[in-house]
């Protein structure tokens, strides 16, 4: 094993264990599918240590290249091996403001883990799970004992961050490290963006998100909820009358897309956004203790094949649906959802109807009674490499259901951009920004889903962080 090296020169050489990858402890499907508590339980201390011991501490740690924010994976794992947990957290926080979140929801299997040298044998180090374990360890400490990234000396500059999703949060945390006064404006009453209103608690407990955000507050980030930028203030007003020197736009891509098929406005048809918001943000599952109702269907059809579709199906399950069918246009290999989520959904009893394209929602008395779909077959691969589905003539059939949840994607919400006329947009309404997050408007930076379209938590965070650096450089170059 020539690629093992003594890290940092001082520490003793690590002798990796040859044990197989440590499985994630999880609650049994029958139990977890009835409540909103977390499915994965997280490693125990022993399991984390055992898994960390598997890491080869490579001379050339390719895993790091797989991480979009280049976390020093080798180093944080080494700290776990050596029992230096606080140091390990500090390594994570150097690149990632929300490790307990990313450790849970990052598509690790396609990022850091796929680049791990052990992946070739199909047994990569469970980097994400270790990150989660370390992140959770930090969160379980008292606030004053938690890892607090150092805050820079006050620069006198004030920055407004629009949106408290991963992009905005990462940007705000980083701006504080540079010493800029930072205010995050959020249109909803709760912070976290999709982490709060979209991703359900059984995958990402809401308390985890709020506790991670708490640390940003300790770092001096000011949070203002109930402000819709574009309505309460425009971007220009933030920069003039409100006196901000720069603005970061991280308002996500929150506008739900519908299919445009007949019957979509029947009662019982939800966008995934509405359905998930009613449950995650408004706690519809606790109705009537919480005031917001959510329609609890018995037979639910979910249209789509991404994480959002999985989350909707599994949420419907937990609200007591008897039958849930996931209807997807392409085949299972093409489903963009994480494999782990597909696997969990299946275990919990979600049925998959692949290669089916919905053409109409039918109803009676204003309410959904069924979904008409056509079978598809796969043709030649298109530019994206995915094989385009085409209709099989005469193969229409009806799925009986009382609820349809449309989870076929989201778009940019024009509320902010249409009130900021000098902000250059793409044809589809996304903000045009360079690799550092600079937009066409001086002093305005952007990142996350509003630039890339719906992507991932870690990409949004990476963009927020890069933009913070660009903002810092832009401010430094300004004549004082």
């Amino acid at each position: 094993m020539s690629h093992i090296e003594t890290p940092g020169g001082e520490k003793p050489r690590h002798k990796p264990s040859r044990a197989p990858r440590t499985p994630m402890p999880e609650r049994p499907a029958a139990e977890r599918a009835r409540d909103f508590d977390e499915v994965n339980l997280g490693y125990t201390d022993e399991q984390a240590k055992a898994e960390a011991d598997r890491c080869l501490q490579c001379k050339n740690p390719t895993c790091i290249d797989g991480c979009p924010v280049n976390i020093d994976i080798k180093s944080f794992i080494r700290h776990i091996i050596d029992g230096e947990y606080a140091d390990g957290v500090a390594v994570l926080k150097e690149r990632n403001a929300l490790p307990a979140v990313c450790g849970r929801v990052c598509p690790q299997e396609e990022q850091c883990e796929v680049e791990c040298v052990l992946a070739k044998k199909g047994e990569s180090v469970a980097i994400g799970r270790l990150e989660r374990w370390l992140g959770d360890r930090d969160l379980s400490c008292e606030l004053d004992e938690r890892c607090k990234p150092e805050v820079g000396e006050d620069t006198g500059y004030r920055i407004a961050v629009v949106g408290s999703g991963p992009a905005g949060l990462a940007c705000a945390g980083e701006l504080r490290r540079f010493g800029h006064a930072t205010t995050v404006f959020e249109s909803l009453h709760a912070l976290g963006g999709v982490l709060t209103y979209g991703i359900p608690g059984f995958r990402l407990p809401k308390a985890i998100v709020q506790t991670e955000i708490e640390m940003l507050g300790v770092m001096g980030v000011e949070f203002v909820t109930d402000v819709v930028v574009g309505a309460t203030y425009t971007v220009d007003e933030l920069m003039t009358e409100q006196g901000y020197d720069a603005v970061f736009v991280g308002n996500g891509a929150g506008l739900p897309v519908f299919l445009g098929i007949p019957g979509e406005n029947l009662n019982g048809v939800y966008s995934a956004n509405e359905f998930l918001t009613r449950v995650n943000l408004m706690r519809g599952n606790e109705f009537p203790t919480a005031d917001t109702p959510v329609w609890r269907g018995r037979k639910v059809a979910v249209i789509g094949g991404g994480n959002v579709a999985m989350d909707s199906a599994r949420t419907a399950q937990r609200l007591g649906a008897e039958e849930i069918l996931l209807v997807y246009r392409r085949s299972e290999e093409e489903m963009p959802a994480r494999k782990e989520e597909v696997h969990h959904a299946r275990e919990e009893g979600i049925e998959f109807k692949m290669l089916c394209s919905p053409s109409e929602i039918v109803g009676h008395d204003g309410w959904v009674t069924g979904l008409i779909a056509t079978r598809m077959e796969l043709g030649e691969p298109d530019e994206s490499g995915r094989r385009a589905p085409t209709c099989v003539l005469g193969s229409e059939f009806t799925i009986d259901c009382d609820t349809v949840i449309v989870a076929v994607g989201t778009r940019a919400n024009p509320l902010l951009t249409k009130t900021t006329p000098d902000l250059e947009l793409t044809k589809r309404g996304y903000v045009v920004a360079d690799e550092h997050g600079a937009t066409s408007k001086p002093g305005v930076f952007a990142g996350g889903d509003i630039v890339t379209g719906s992507a991932t938590v870690i990409l949004a965070m990476g963009a927020g962080k890069r933009a913070a650096k660009a903002i810092d450089q832009w401010l430094t170059a300004l004549p004082r």
Partner: protein
Amino acid sequence: MFHIVDKRQLSEAVFEMGVEAPAIARKAKAGQFLMLRVDENGERIPLTFSDWSAEEGLIRFIFMRVGKTTHKLSHLEAGDSLADVVGPLGVPTHVEGLGRVAVVGGGVGAAVAYPVARAMAEAGNDVTVILGARNADLLILEDEFRKLPLRELVVCTDDGSAGRKDLVTAPLKELCESGVLDHAMAIGPVIMMKFCAATTKEFGVPTTVSLNPIMVDGTGMCGACRVTVGGETKFGCVDGPDFDGHLVDFEELMSRQRVYVDDERLADAEYSRECTCHT
């Protein structure tokens, strides 16, 4: 937290509230609305600004007690506070250069009609207001309307206990027939807006209605507020709430407003059991 500055009761189930919200007060325009949440367990509900003052940092709205949230709201007093107030949302009502206009306000819709009529009058239009209610007790804001520079205020009640014993569509039709009307605006229960739009359509008088679909966020991110206008799906909160009354699918709107009736009844019944007021 948003502080309640004053509150008054306008009729048995209708209340007006003033709330400190300086950032919102700077920007509010006639026809726009806010979303509020009473407390941490609260639902987000939309209410239209009935008035606002940038100088005092104050917004006002008028609401009718119809279910749990408005019921909770009716128990709050000056000095209490609301968990959340967001706005101003929606597209302001178009008030410029309309000419001779009839503004119809039915029931609590009068609360929305009031700032709209005021803005239209201030913009130099020639405004007639038709106020409707089931009976005199339910009639609200009559005095406030009388203070506006209107051509005329026509009051109608279903039982004749105040003003004419008529539906609001009767005086609206007369105005249409006289051929003087350039524009109509109807705000109130969906069924009333539907009949007003049907009345003016016959005479080709352009008519705006202010729709009240169920909303969650009020900013375009959920689609709960979908309405069909001219065969196209629109989001009530960001594309509206005002739409061309001759193109709106009112049947669909009425059906969509009923999605949660059973839940709403349950929630309010449970709340009423604990609450000591009458209702």
